[in-house]
């Protein structure tokens, strides 16, 4: 709470153009590497173009093909949505559960916390290769473990209904340590007196969590919700390495779809741009949705 009065206008008093000059390098960078590609992406989506031939304006044909003619885009979209929801749900759930477990400061807990953070530091491609081996049907660790308890081996990445979940597991495993750290920090930022007041109010454990702790960490959870969703919609390298979108189209996601059409299948850049534009649109809608609707229910201290 600030004291009322006129807003502070002290500080800078020089020429007006100086601040613009100072942000110019950053703005130039953004313009070249962010704003121009974004605009160009949308622009290209209205053309037939393969990087070599002349651009041919085709209007909304690319979008019609994408959404109503070809089936594979909707399949990729569905996979992405399933993948994202699963990753968001399990990451946040596990991050909260582990954070509650690791909240107490001890030698053992610090060790576990650091161990769980390590996967976050490994490159995604390496992680994906390691897990490809773990999931391997013949020589993989998981099937070996299943054999020990006399369960018939599973086909993991080769099973079209299981493959997407394998990728979910890898993503959650890799980033859990990082998100856990954020939840843990927010748990520790809850004033101790509030928890003690709840204890004096004879609050049962679950009720204390739902009514006190969860609302108190909701700003951070809200932040995680946005960042994990957005990063999940952009998933690429793990899928590319572990399944390359297969088996069939079972793990094809939006970015692998764009990549395949833009750089592998006859360089259909215009068509891929249309798919990319759809992805861009979804991410924008999601972000607006989160800020508009969920933001209201979040308790900010």
């Amino acid at each position: 709470m600030r004291a009322e009065g006129k807003p502070q206008e002290e500080g800078y008093a020089g020429p007006r153009w100086v601040p613009y000059l100072m942000v110019a390098p950053a703005m130039t960078f953004l313009a070249i590497f962010t704003f121009y590609p974004l605009a160009n992406l949308v622009y290209l989506s209205f053309f037939r173009y393969n990087l070599i031939s002349d651009k041919v304006f085709v209007g909304l044909t690319n979008y019609r093909n994408l959404l109503f003619v070809k089936k594979d885009f909707l399949q990729a979209l569905e996979n992405t949505v399933v993948y994202s929801f699963a990753v968001v749900f399990f990451t946040i759930l596990l991050a909260i559960l582990f954070a509650l477990w690791l909240e107490k400061d001890s030698w053992f807990n610090r060790f576990i916390q650091k161990s769980m953070f390590t996967p976050y530091l490994i490159a995604m491609v390496s992680t994906a290769y390691i897990w490809s081996w773990i999931f391997d049907v013949n020589s993989g660790l998981l099937n070996a473990a299943l054999a020990l308890i006399d369960v018939s081996p599973l086909r993991w990445l080769n099973d079209s209904s299981l493959a997407i979940w394998c990728i979910v597991i890898v993503s959650v495993w890799k980033s859990l340590g990082y998100y856990l750290l954020i939840v843990l920090a927010s748990l520790k930022s809850i004033p101790r007196e509030i928890i003690e007041a709840a204890e004096l109010d004879n609050t049962p454990w679950l009720r204390k969590f739902v009514r006190i702790i969860l609302p108190m960490i909701s700003p951070q959870i809200f932040f995680l919700l946005i960042t994990i969703t957005i990063s999940s919609f952009r998933v690429f390298d793990s899928v590319q390495v572990m399944t390359n979108g297969g088996p069939g189209n079972a793990t094809d996601v939006l970015v692998t779809y764009v990549h395949r059409y833009a750089f592998q299948m006859n360089m259909r850049v215009g068509y891929a741009s249309a798919a990319g534009s759809v992805l861009l649109f979804i991410l924008m809608v999601l972000t607006i949705f989160y800020f508009r609707f969920l933001g209201r229910k979040v308790h900010y201290q």
Binding site: A197, L200, D201, N202, R211
Partner: protein
């Protein structure tokens, strides 16, 4: 209504011992004030009663029943925190109601208690508001209401007024005293402010470094201190303590017990020539800093504001206002000690030398 007993309480944080072998009884229905400098262990004791910071060893009894292992929520105590610790995401009503719901108090009963309590503390118009929409004083009342509504046997308060401005603090002080009269339950109130302790408490427990220096009513605490610490902690400015040349004992007298005169009166127990170093006019009273001939300085608090810096006068104190302390800082009382007479004799003659 409850009597609280601490038995052989020890408390350490890591390797730091805060309280060692403390025994204390807080009487039923009294307004008990735990007072002392920061780090003296007063809040630690309060948290032991509440059960949110259990003792390392020892027992805590509530009406003769050992509650050392009873969870905080089932002890029948309520606490007002220094930071209020109001649940920020709940409305005032939800804050007050939360504990009742946890204890499965029926709805009709809850409604009755909430309206009763919110009327007492004057929160009725604000029941639907969130804490962020309340002023500091109103938040304080929410914290109070949340404690009162549970109808606890013991009220614990941890410096509840320290975040309020001076005017509001004075108002809340008398309101809390009234509340205590009304509820007739045991209050345990923690503060570092001796004025607050004196103004509010029926029974003051003065602590220092984890030990109890004196436990008594405010009157006794002021007039009959057990030791130098008590004499200096209670009262402003603190009691003057003088060491006498080639004596191991110490002499104390309050700034307000001093009289200053141009000519020494013969019937005073302690007389000493002084000069005035500084003068602070406070309104009804004036504070003078005086220097004795041997270089020691004392404070005097007089209604006479006519004396000026540089004046040379006689400082005099009546016998009943002199306190003697042994080399450990403990009081040597007239009724209890034969040394007293000898000490008085030395002091009375000290100005002649």
């Amino acid at each position: 209504m409850a009597k609280i007993e601490f038995q052989n309480i020890h408390k350490s944080f890591g390797t730091t011992k805060v309280i060692e072998n403390l025994n204390l009884t807080l009487e039923d229905g009294k307004f008990n004030v735990l007072v002392g400098p920061s780090g003296c262990g007063k809040t630690t004791l309060l948290r032991i009663i509440a059960g949110i910071g259990p003792a390392t060893s020892g027992r805590i009894l509530l009406d003769g029943v050992d509650i050392s292992n009873v969870p905080p929520g089932q002890r029948g105590v309520a606490m007002v925190f220094q930071s209020y610790a109001i649940y920020p995401m709940m409305t005032v009503r939800q804050n007050i109601e939360f504990g009742l719901k946890n204890n499965r108090v029926p709805k009709a009963e809850r409604e009755r208690r909430i309206s009763e309590v919110s009327q007492i503390v004057g929160l009725e118009p604000y029941l639907g508001r969130k804490p962020s929409q309340l002023s500091g004083g109103q938040r304080q009342r929410v914290a109070l209401a949340r404690a009162m509504v549970k109808e606890p046997t013991v009220f614990l308060m941890d410096e509840p007024l320290s975040n309020l401005d001076a005017k509001l603090r004075a108002a809340m002080r008398s309101e809390l005293v009234q509340l205590h009269k009304q509820l007739q339950t045991t209050f345990v109130y923690v503060t570092h402010d001796q004025v607050e302790a004196m103004a509010m408490g029926d029974c003051i427990i003065l602590m220092d470094q984890g030990r109890i220096m004196q436990q008594s009513d405010p009157e006794t605490m002021y007039r009959d201190p057990d030791n130098i610490f008590t004499a200096q902690f209670i009262g402003t400015p603190p009691t003057n303590i003088l060491g006498l040349e080639s004596e191991s004992f110490k002499l104390g007298f309050r700034p307000e017990a001093i009289s200053l005169s141009v000519n020494p009166a013969p019937d005073k127990a302690f007389t000493h020539r002084v000069s005035i170093l500084t003068r602070e006019m406070l309104g009804a009273e004036t504070l003078y800093k005086l220097r004795l001939r041997n270089g020691q300085e004392v404070m005097a608090r007089l209604t006479d504001s006519s004396l000026m810096v540089g004046d040379e006068l006689y400082l005099q104190v009546d016998e009943e206002n002199l306190y003697f302390f042994d080399s450990e800082g403990n009081r040597v009382r007239k009724t209890l000690s034969q040394q007293y007479g000898a000490m008085l004799e030395r002091v009375t003659r000290s100005h002649e030398s």
